[in-house]
């Protein structure tokens, strides 16, 4: 066990995967000698050589499209999109080809490609560097979409993603790259597509993922003062969705709030609310609420604090869960 930042854990996962399987290739923009703009691939080109870890021309559709062709020829490409919004040029390759190749060919052609995308805000990034683009990918059948909330999950989920026979959109919460935690290599305890209860509680379930896991845990601590015992569920895998863990928690607590940075309208949280309501209706004491970004383009750095869900806004939302109507123990 060692203490690592999430970026260090991701780097270790890539190194271990490259070491474990010679079919694994790492490529993208600036991932070679520079080690990526966030240094996630630091040292990998030197260690594994420029035939396995290499810079490509600056073209995202080209990176994903060629990764598909390489996967058709037996490779396991792990490609980096430099930022969330810079992945959009690859959208057609991802949705029309990567996601559909197995289905189109009735299972004859597998394309085990991992697309790593740093996403979300909170780092003072300028325009086009802070999008939460998860809903575009979760809406596409054939893709797995995962996002770690802790350094350990950074390691575990990335190793799982690289081992997966399915294409994976791997969303890295860039504001948590520097958060530290204990990391154990090669000991993946939680299933690839399972959610985790990060903190048990009895009164309300906070459902979060990626960058909002830490915010949800912070909120749970602050909620103690209000007398609320908050359970925090970290989704980890956005698609497929772990109904069992999420609904198990909500049935126990009877209240739920979904938190994400992305805009709320048509967002991923709407799917979570619908699934929880459909499955847990008779256990609910209040409507399932959401705390999300506003329905606006991501704001400029000086205003992003007003956009991002924070402890106060989440506490206010928990407060609106019709506590007064409840007859405890009835």
């Amino acid at each position: 066990m060692s203490t690592l930042s999430m970026s260090g854990a991701l780097n270790m996962a890539l190194a271990d995967a490259l070491e474990a399987d010679e079919r694994v290739l790492v490529f993208g923009e600036d991932v070679g000698p520079l080690g990526g703009v966030f240094r996630i691939t630091d040292g990998l080109a030197a260690r594994f050589g420029d035939r396995r870890v290499f810079d490509t021309p600056l073209a995202e559709s080209g990176i994903v499209g060629t990764a598909i062709g390489m996967a058709m020829n037996g490779m396991r490409p792990v490609v980096e999109m430099q930022f969330d919004a810079f992945a959009y040029p690859a959208f057609e390759q991802i949705t029309s080809h990567l996601a559909k190749m197995r289905n189109r060919t009735r299972g004859k052609v597998e394309v085990p490609v991992v697309i790593r995308i740093p996403y979300g805000g909170g780092i003072g990034g300028v325009e086009h560097h802070c999008d939460s683009s998860e809903a575009y990918y979760t809406h596409t059948s054939g893709l797995r979409v995962v996002t770690p909330g802790t350094p350990q999950d950074g390691y575990d989920l990335l190793r799982d993603a690289i081992d997966s026979p399915d294409p994976v959109i791997f969303l890295e919460p860039k504001r948590r790259y520097w958060s530290k935690g204990e990391v154990v290599a090669d000991q993946r305890r939680t299933g690839f597509d399972r959610a985790l209860i990060r903190r048990p509680g009895e009164d309300v379930t906070l459902i979060a993922y990626g960058p909002m896991v830490a915010t949800a845990l912070e909120t749970a601590e602050a909620a103690k003062e209000e007398g609320w015992d908050v359970e925090v569920v970290d989704l980890r895998s956005l698609s497929p969705f772990d109904d069992e863990t999420v609904c198990g928690s909500v049935r126990r607590t009877g209240r739920a709030v979904v938190v994400h940075e992305a805009a709320g309208f048509g967002g991923y949280g709407a799917e979570v609310v619908a699934r929880v309501t459909e499955r847990c209706f008779h256990h609910l004491h209040a409507p399932v609420l959401r705390v999300t970004g506003f329905d606006i383009p991501y704001p400029p750095p000086k205003l992003e604090e007003h956009f991002l869900p924070g402890v106060d806004r989440i506490l206010d939302t928990i407060g609106r869960l019709q506590w007064d109507d409840e007859v405890r123990g009835a």
Binding site: G62, I68, G69, R102, T105
Partner: protein
């Protein structure tokens, strides 16, 4: 196989002003210092496969009228490209076709019923790509160029002797992926051959509204990709330039861009009305440059093709068409449960629930 071109020509970035050719439109041989006429057995095979391929194409169009195919994009008039390019490939090479390249697929050996599964509507793709080394027919334009470059680059990394040939049309050269693919292929020196079948129209839009460069082949120059302009209705020349590009790629010489000037004799598909955007005189002029007539005339004049062989090839084409009718007239049964089977390696819990729901509806 004899070398089909001279070394001096091999790595020139610029295409020639006039398309390379080995046969005039009436089938007289052209002495071109750039190209060597393929061997007689190759020419006879080109002829045989083009006749069979054209009959397949005609049969497929007829099947749309009978409701057996949802749609069929014909490649009538483009047989030199469809057949010449595929015969120039080696067994270990890969083909990345588009929706218009069904004749290329059957020439490569994909069974007709598997080739037409997409257009019949039974599934999105009917064959095992790995078995034939033929990627699924690509319906989005130009996206297959990048897949070909990726597959070819992986082959290079693995030390495999494999070349990827990707087919696109003139319209696809306006798509960004074509340009990214040319650049990636050049930077990586990937063993890939780009064949642009310039058939004059992207559905209804003519070349004049698609491109103002001297030729589509010129687009390779900016990427450092050697480019060739060839008469796309000349099967001998088409075969020679593709064979040469495959050889260069296999020897580590990197990619080649080939533009073949040809013509789509039929409408875009059976659902299109070509009279709205082109006149009959233009079509007639191109029928006069027919690729099958051209090679027949040459082989006949050479004494290689007599009435007996012509009849044998025609009979083979008819027998093939009859077999296509037979397999395509059989009703297709696809199990609706299969809808959920191939989305992921293992169906997710959600998909298993939805499969059960559909099964209940069908019970």
């Amino acid at each position: 196989m004899a070398r089909t071109s001279l070394p001096a020509r091999e790595r020139s970035l610029l295409p020639t002003d006039a398309p390379l050719s080995l046969l005039t439109k009436t089938g007289e041989p052209v002495v071109d210092p750039e190209l060597v006429m393929p061997d007689d057995d190759v020419l006879l095979e080109l002829h045989r496969r083009m006749v069979v391929g054209r009959r397949f194409d005609t049969q497929a169009t007829a099947l749309t009228r009978q409701g057996r195919l949802a749609v069929y994009p014909s490649s009538r008039g483009q047989e030199a490209c469809e057949v010449g390019s595929v015969l120039a490939l080696r067994e270990q090479d890969w083909l990345f076709p588009t929706y218009r390249d069904s004749v290329a697929l059957v020439t490569r050996g994909v069974p007709a019923v598997e080739t037409l599964t997409l257009l019949q509507g039974g599934w999105h793709n009917g064959y095992d790509p790995h078995e034939h080394r033929v990627a699924p027919q690509c319906t989005p334009l130009a996206t297959n160029t990048l897949h070909a470059v990726g597959l070819a680059h992986a082959a290079k990394l693995k030390g495999e002797d494999t070349v990827a040939l990707v087919l696109v049309g003139d319209g696809a050269t306006s798509e960004g992926d074509t340009h990214e693919a040319l650049n990636f292929a050049a930077v990586w020196q990937a063993p890939v051959v780009f064949l642009v079948q310039n058939n004059g129209y992207a559905i209804s839009v003519p070349m004049s509204k698609q491109n103002v460069a001297p030729s589509l082949a010129h687009k390779g120059v900016g990427y450092g990709v050697p480019s060739v302009l060839v008469d796309g209705n000349d099967p001998a020349a088409l075969y020679a330039v593709v064979r040469d590009a495959v050889r260069v790629a296999a020897e580590g010489g990197g990619p080649t861009l080939i533009e073949a000037i040809t013509y789509r004799v039929e409408a875009h598909t059976n659902a299109d009305d070509a009279t709205r955007y082109r006149d009959a005189d233009e079509v007639a002029a191109w029928l006069d440059r027919d690729p099958v007539d051209r090679i027949e005339a040459y082989l006949t004049a050479r004494g290689l093709l007599d009435d007996a062989r012509r009849a044998t090839v025609a009979a083979e084409a008819e027998a093939y068409a009859a077999s296509v009718r037979e397999v395509m007239n059989a009703d297709v049964e696809v199990d609706p449960a299969e809808l959920f089977e191939h989305v992921y390696a293992e169906p997710t819990r959600q998909l298993r629930e939805q499969a059960a729901l559909l099964a209940e509806e069908l019970a």
